[in-house]
Each structure stands twice: as C-alpha cells, then as structure tokens.
C-alpha cells in the first residue's frame, strides 16, 4: 500500500507546476491549461484522501470539480475566442483592457 503522503507529494508537484505555468506562460491558452493542471492536482489529493479515510464523498467532490472545470473551460475558451476576435493576439501582455 502506498502511503498517503506520496499521493499528496505528487499532487503538490502537479499543483506547483500549474502555478508555475500560470505565472511564466504568456499564451492565454497555455495559462488556461495550467489552471486545468492545478485542478487535476487538487483532484488527486481529493481521491487520495477519499481512499485513505474510506469516504466516498471525496470522489463525488472530484466529480463536481470535473463538471465545474468543464463549464469553466467552455466559458473561458469562448472568452478567448472573443478576445482574439477583437485583439488578434493571444499574448496576455497585449491584452490589458477588460473592455472588448
């Protein structure tokens, strides 16, 4: 049996990679993918805790996180398309106005 801490370390590494990608990437789509990576890291710790405490509610929470992530990516990518249509760029440094 793998200790719980191993899963938490892996989850922390994935979350840290997501944070780093969010900070260093300049392409708006890649930044969005870094957010998905962070969500995945959190999901892993949810499932690990659910398995450790024999509480299946943790797995249901992961299911809800996936649903919210799906909704978030649909809306977010639509916003990216709208921004690209007006700015003709995907670089976040060139997108400094909230107004379309």
């Amino acid at each position: 049996m793998v200790p719980l801490s191993y899963y938490l370390v892996l989850s922390g590494i994935l979350f840290a990679c997501g944070v780093a990608g969010f900070l260093i990437k300049r392409n708006i789509i890649t930044i969005f993918m870094s957010i998905e990576l962070m969500l995945n890291g959190v999901n892993l710790s949810f499932v690990a805790f659910a398995a450790h405490w024999h509480a299946l509610a943790g797995q249901v929470f992961v299911f809800f996180v996936m649903v919210v992530a799906a909704a978030e990516s649909a809306v977010g990518l639509a916003i990216i398309i709208a921004v690209y249509r007006t700015r003709e760029t995907l670089n976040v440094d060139h997108v400094n106005l909230l107004k379309l």
Binding site: Y7, I29, H54, A57, Q59, A69, A71, V75, R85
Partner: protein, 184 residues
C-alpha cells in the same frame, strides 16, 4: 522489494510529473495540450490504483477526451502559436515515441512480474459506478441538480460569448441614422 502498487504509482507519477514539466517547457500550445493529456491519462491510472474506477473512466472520457478536444479545437481555430518556433515537435518525436514504448514496456513488465496477484473484478473496487451513483443521487442530489443548471448556463454563456457580434434587428440602421443626424 517494492510492491506492484508502489511500482505502478511510481510509473504513473513519473509520467504525470514529466507531462507537467513538459507543459512548462513547450512553447507551442498544441504540444502543451498533448502533454496535459499525458498528465490526465497518468492521473487516471493513479485513480485506478486508489480504487476510484468510475473517476478513472470519467477522467479519461471527460477530461482527456472532451475538455482537451475543446482546447485543441480552439488552438487550431485561432491558429495559435504560429509565430512561435516548434522545436518541441522534433524533441517529441525523438524522445516521445521511445518514451511511450519504454513506459508501456515498464507497465507490462511490472504487471507480468507480479502476475500471481489476482485480478480485481469490475465493480469490486470502493469507487465503483454503482456506489458513486447511489451517493450522487441520494446524498448529493441537490448539488447534482445545481451543477446541471450551471452547465446549462455555461453552454448559453459560451454560445453568447463566442458568437460573432451580430447587429441587432433594426438596431444598427437606427444608430446609423442618429449618427448621420448628429454629423449633419
């Protein structure tokens, strides 16, 4: 002697971390998306190790399937990353294909090495679809219904945001007329 559980955890964990680091290293969004798919597939393996078989399936179908298809679709729609160099694709060919082969061989070797362990029948793990469904439709019925409304709103929001700003019926002509009046 490490157990098969730990060995598989390490293999999937290394794949996940390598994919996450590759996501940071790649400069082309398509390569980043593909490495994110690798991370998600490896995480599905981790979920399977933790007994969450339903979540492993959902991870592959919804995350690695639907959401990442949406990402790749938008990347190709916007022709993103065309101004950036695609050195990474050559690296992916040199290291990626042998890496995938090596990983598959490693997993197969570990499974064959510990072949005396008995296989788990489908539905015997704690996170079986039936138990998750029981929980989802009894204790978490209200959140489930609320998420369905959330999904509906997200669909409408995505359509509204991504659609071209069409001139409203009768709106622009009136506006033009007033502008002309002002100009006059």
């Amino acid at each position: 002697m490490i157990s098969i559980h730990l060995a598989l955890f390490l293999i999937f964990g290394v794949v996940a971390v390598a994919g996450a680091v590759n996501l940071l290293a790649q400069r082309h969004p398509i390569n980043a998306a593909l490495s994110l798919i690798a991370v998600m597939a490896a995480l599905a393996g981790e979920y399977m190790l933790l007994g969450a078989e339903f979540l492993a399936a959902v991870q592959v179908i919804v995350y690695a399937g639907a959401i990442m298809v949406l990402f790749v679709f938008v990347i190709m729609l916007l022709n993103a990353g065309v101004e950036e160099r695609t050195e990474g694709s050559r690296v992916a060919i040199i290291f990626g294909i042998p890496g995938v082969l090596l990983g598959s061989i490693l997993v197969a070797w570990v499974i064959l090495r510990y072949s005396e362990t008995e296989a788990v029948p489908a539905g015997a793990l704690p996170g079986a679809p039936s138990t998750i469904g029981q929980l989802l439709f009894h204790e978490f019925l209200l959140p489930f219904e609320i998420t369905s409304i959330l999904i509906l709103i997200a669909i409408m929001g995505a359509v509204v945001l991504a659609s071209k700003p069409e001139p409203a019926a009768g709106g622009p002509s009136k506006k033009l007329a007033t502008e002309q009046k002002v100009n006059d």
